[in-house]
Symmetry: C2
Subunit: 493 residues, 2 copies
C-alpha cells in the first residue's frame, strides 16, 4: 500500500513542477483588491496552517456522544475566528443536536450578489485506531502532506473558504460581495438538524448562490466541478432469535442461529454476478442518464487501473451494463458496514447469539426517494425472514440525491476560478458521496448549490491516516479569492 501511495505522490510531484500558480495574469492586475488578497494569502500560508492545526486538534466526532463537548468546542473556536477576521456578529445556533455556526457580512450592499459559503467542522470516528501512524487529533506535516482526522474532510477544505475571506478582510477591510457563512457540526451524521434550521431561517439565509467545499478533485492537475451527488438510506436491521445466548453444542442444529439467518437474508439482497441490488422496486425511480451526459462523464479521466492502485482492491466489480465512472456516480449501491452481535474478540466462543444485526447503507441516485427505499428494504427483508427470527429496523440516516445545473453562471464562475487558481480547466462529474445539505439548500433557499473540492482521491477520508495535500490548501485559498472576485461581477438570478 505504501508503494501505491508513493506512486501516486510521484505523479503529484511531477504535477508540482509545472507552475500551477498562474494567478490569471493581466486580468487580475485590474483588480487591486483581489491582488492584495492574493498577496496576503501567499505571505500567510504558515499562519493559515497553524490555525488549521488548532481546529484539527478538536476530536469533533459527531456520531459519538462522548465527543459532544469537543464538537461544541470546535464551534466556539470557529465563532471566535470569524469574529476576529471581521464577522463581528458570528454566533452559534443551538439545534436538537450539535450547534451550527453562522456569520454574515452584507456591507457590499444590494447591488452585489450574496453568496452563502458552507462547510462542516465535525469528523468521522477514528477506528481502527491502531492503524493510525500518529494520533488522529495531533495533526502533523510530512513534506507537503498534512495528517489528521478532518484534514481533508472537511476542516481543511472549509478553512480554505474562510481563509480566502480573511485575505480580503485583512487587506482591503471588505469583501467584493455579500457573504453568509454557515458551518455545520452534523454533516458526518447526515445533517439531521439542517433541514429544520434551513426551513426556519430561510429568509435570513437568502442568497444568490451557495458554495460548498467538501469534495475531492481528480489530482492536482485536474480540478473537478461536481454537479451531482448520491443520496443515502442508512439502515440497521436486527435479527433476534432465542431470548438469550445459547451454547452451540447444546442447541446447534435445532435453533436457527441469527447470524446464519442474517447472512442468508443479506445475500438475498444482492446479485453477486451482475452486482445489482435485488430489493424489489429498488431501481424503479432511477433516472437513466442521456447520451450527452454519458459522454460528459466519459470525458472524466478515471481509469480502472488508477482505481485499483488507489484502493488496493484485487479487482473491481460494478453493476453490469455500466462503467466505472457511472458505478460511483449515477448508479445506486448497497453496502454492509458492520455486523454487530455474537463474539468478535480474540479466540473462540461457541455461542448462538440471541441476536445479530447489520448496518447497511444504500447510496441513492435521482429520483430515488430515501423514505421509499427504506420501505422497500424493510419489505424485502420481511418477505424473506424465516419464522425462526424476529426483525427490528432502525433508520440511522437519510439523504436525498441531488443534481445541479453545471451550466448556470454561479457554477461557470467556479470553472474560471479553478482555471486561475490551478492553471487548468476543471472537468465535470457527479460524485458518489452524500451531502444531505445540498438537496435541502436547493429546497429551502432556491439557489444553485455549487460544489467545489480541494481533496484528493487518496486523502483517506473516513479511514486511518486521513491527509490533505497542502499545495491544494494554498491553491484553494487563492481559487476562492478569485471566485469571490469573479462572482461579484456575475449576474446571478
Amino acid at each position: 500500500m505504501l508503494k501505491l501511495d508513493q506512486d501516486l505522490f510521484a505523479l503529484y510531484e511531477e504535477a508540482r513542477d509545472v507552475d500551477f500558480l498562474l494567478y490569471g495574469g493581466d486580468e487580475m492586475a485590474t483588480d487591486p483588491t483581489a491582488s492584495a488578497a492574493l498577496e496576503y494569502a501567499r505571505q500567510n500560508r504558515d499562519v493559515f496552517l497553524d490555525r488549521l492545526f488548532e481546529l484539527l486538534r478538536f476530536p469533533s466526532i459527531s456520531t459519538q456522544v462522548e465527543n459532544a463537548v469537543d464538537v461544541e468546542k470546535a464551534a466556539d473556536w470557529l465563532v471566535n475566528y470569524l469574529k476576529e477576521i471581521g464577522f463581528s456578529e458570528a454566533q452559534k445556533y443551538s439545534t436538537a443536536g450539535h450547534p451550527l455556526v453562522y456569520a454574515e457580512w452584507l456591507e457590499a450592499g444590494p447591488s452585489f450578489p450574496t453568496l452563502l459559503v458552507y462547510g462542516h467542522y465535525d469528523v468521522q470516528p477514528v477506528d481502527p485506531l491502531d492503524l493510525w501512524h500518529k494520533p488522529p487529533f495531533e495533526p502533523s506535516v510530512d513534506g507537503d502532506v498534512l495528517y489528521g482526522r478532518g484534514a481533508s474532510d472537511d476542516k481543511g477544505q472549509m478553512m480554505a473558504l474562510l481563509a480566502a475571506l480573511e485575505a480580503y478582510l485583512r487587506t482591503s477591510g471588505c469583501l467584493p460581495l455579500n457573504v453568509k457563512v454557515l458551518l455545520e457540526g452534523e454533516e458526518e451524521i447526515l445533517s439531521p438538524n439542517m433541514g429544520p434550521f434551513l426551513a426556519e431561517h430561510n429568509r435570513q439565509l437568502a442568497c444568490n448562490a451557495v458554495l460548498i467545499c467538501d469534495d475531492s478533485i481528480l489530482d492536482p492537475q485536474t480540478p473537478v466541478i461536481t454537479y451531482g451527488l448520491r443520496g443515502n438510506c442508512y439502515m440497521e436491521v436486527r435479527v433476534s432469535g432465542p431470548s438469550r445466548d445459547l451454547h452451540s453444542g447444546s442447541f446447534g442444529g435445532a435453533v436457527d442461529n441469527p447470524f446464519n439467518v442474517l447472512v442468508r437474508m443479506l445475500a438475498a439482497l444482492q446479485d453477486g454476478k451482475t452486482h445489482k441490488v435485488l430489493i424489489p422496486g429498488f431501481y424503479d425511480r432511477v433516472r437513466e442518464i442521456d447520451e450527452a451526459e454519458r459522454a460528459l462523464l466519459a470525458a472524466y479521466p478515471a481509469s480502472e487501473e488508477q482505481t485499483l492502485r488507489l484502493t488496493g482492491a484485487p479487482a473491481l466489480a460494478g453493476e453490469q451494463g455500466y462503467r466505472l465512472i457511472e458505478w460511483t456516480s449515477v448508479r445506486p449501491t448497497l453496502d454492509i458496514h458492520g455486523i454487530p452481535g455474537g463474539f468478535t474478540g480474540e479466540g473462540k466462543k461457541t455461542v448462538i447469539p440471541a441476536w445479530a444485526a447489520a448496518k447497511v447503507s444504500m447510496r441513492l441516485v435521482p429520483d430515488q426517494d430515501p423514505d421509499e427505499i427504506q420501505v422497500l428494504f424493510e419489505n424485502a427483508m420481511r418477505s424473506i425472514a424465516p419464522p425462526t427470527v424476529k426483525l427490528e429496523f432502525k433508520c440511522l440516516g437519510k439523504a436525498r440525491p441531488a443534481v445541479i445545473d453545471y451550466r448556470c453562471p454561479a457554477a461557470q464562475a467556479v470553472a474560471e476560478a479553478y482555471r486561475r487558481g490551478f492553471g487548468v480547466q476543471p472537468v465535470y462529474t457527479r460524485t458518489g458521496g452524500s451531502i444531505a445539505v445540498v438537496a435541502e439548500m436547493m429546497q429551502y433557499l432556491g439557489a444553485p448549490v455549487i460544489m467545489a473540492g480541494l481533496g484528493l482521491p487518496d486523502d483517506q477520508i473516513h479511514a486511518p491516516n486521513e491527509r490533505f495535500y497542502l499545495p491544494n490548501f494554498y491553491r484553494g485559498i487563492e481559487t476562492f479569492i478569485h471566485y469571490y472576485n469573479i462572482l461579484s461581477t456575475t449576474t446571478l438570478s
Copy 2:
C-alpha cells in the same frame, strides 16, 4: 425470559417435593464407609459451597491472554485443596498453554479398580457483560440457585466429584478404590495440550475407567447418561478486499465490499429450507444411526415445546428428515458466532472495510474428521470466492466426535449410582457439545470414558447469568459417593 425460567423452576420445585434423597436404603447400610461419607456430605453442604465460591472467584477465562494469571491461580488453589483432603502429591503440570492439575491416591491397591476423574477449571468469556445481573466472578446464591461464571460449567460439577472424594477421606481416611484426578485449564479452548499430555503420561494415567462430570441432565427428576458427543472444527475466515478502509460514497459500486462478499459466501454454505450444510463432502462420513439407537434416543423425553420455552426462540429449525433429539446429537451443524470487521459501534459509519471475517464452527458427528472438514470448508469457500477478494483461514480449534458403549460395566455403575443419588433411573442420550478430551482419553488410555452430568439445560452455560441448581450439587456429591462405592466392587476390563 424471566417467565420461562419461572415456569421451569416451578417444575423443579415440584420435583423437589418428591423425596429424591433416597440413599439406596438397605444396600447402603451394609457399607459403613460409604454411609459415613454420605453422612459427612449431608453435614458439610455449606462447607462445600463456600469452597466452590472460592474457586468461582477466579476469572479463569482460558481464551483470553489477559486472564492467564487467573487460570494459574485457580490451578494453585486446586492443588492446595487436593493436598488438604489427602492427595499429598497433588501438583501442577506445565503445558504449552495453561497448566494441568494432577493427583492420585492408589492406596486401595491392585486388587481394586482404578478410576480417573476429570474436570476442568477454566471458563468461557463473560461478554456481553451488561446482561449479567451480578458480576460474573462474584458468585451469589438466590434460593436454590448459585450464580456465577463456571457455576455449572464446570467448576460446580468438578467440585462435586472432588467433594465426594473428600467425604471418604475425611471420614474413613481412605477411598474404596484407586483414584487419579486430572483437572484441566483449557477445556473451553478445546484442550489443545491434553493430547500431548495424555500421550506422554499414558502409563502414569493408566486406569480402568474415566469419569467426567461436565454435562447437563434433563431435569432434576431425569438424570442422563451421555454416551456420545459431537466434535468440532472452529474456523475463522478473513475476506480481504481493498488495502485500506474506503469511503462507501467515493468507491461504493466499484469496489466489492468484503462484507457483501462474505455474507454471500456464508449464505452459500447453508440451505435455509432443508437446514443442510452445503459444503461439498460434508456428510460423506456421517454415520447414520440404526433403528435400535433411533428408538433409544426417541425415549429421551425432549419436546419441541420444552426447547422453545428453554431457548425463547420464536420457532425451531433443524435438518430435514430428522427430529429434535437427533438435530442436537447425531447430526452435524454449521454455526456462525461472530462477524468481525468494519464498524459495529453506535451510530453509523459509511465504510467499505479493508476486510471482514467470520468465526464459524461446525459440530461434527462420528465418523467426521475435523482435519478433513477443515479442508472441505476451505475448499468450499475458495471455490465460491470472487476475484475481488483474498481469503485467509485460521483454525481456532478442533475436537473429534466420540461415542462410548453405554452397556459397559463402568457406565452401568453410573446408572445405579444415579438411581441411588437421585432416586430415579437415568435416560440415555448423545450430547451436542464437544469435549475434546473424551476422544483423546479413549485413544491414549484405552479405558471407557463415562460422562455423568449434574447441570440443567437452562444453566446458561457460555452465556450471561450462568447458574447451577444447588440441589443437583448436593445430590451429585452423594451420587459420586455411591459411584465410587459401586465401582469398587465392579469387575472392569
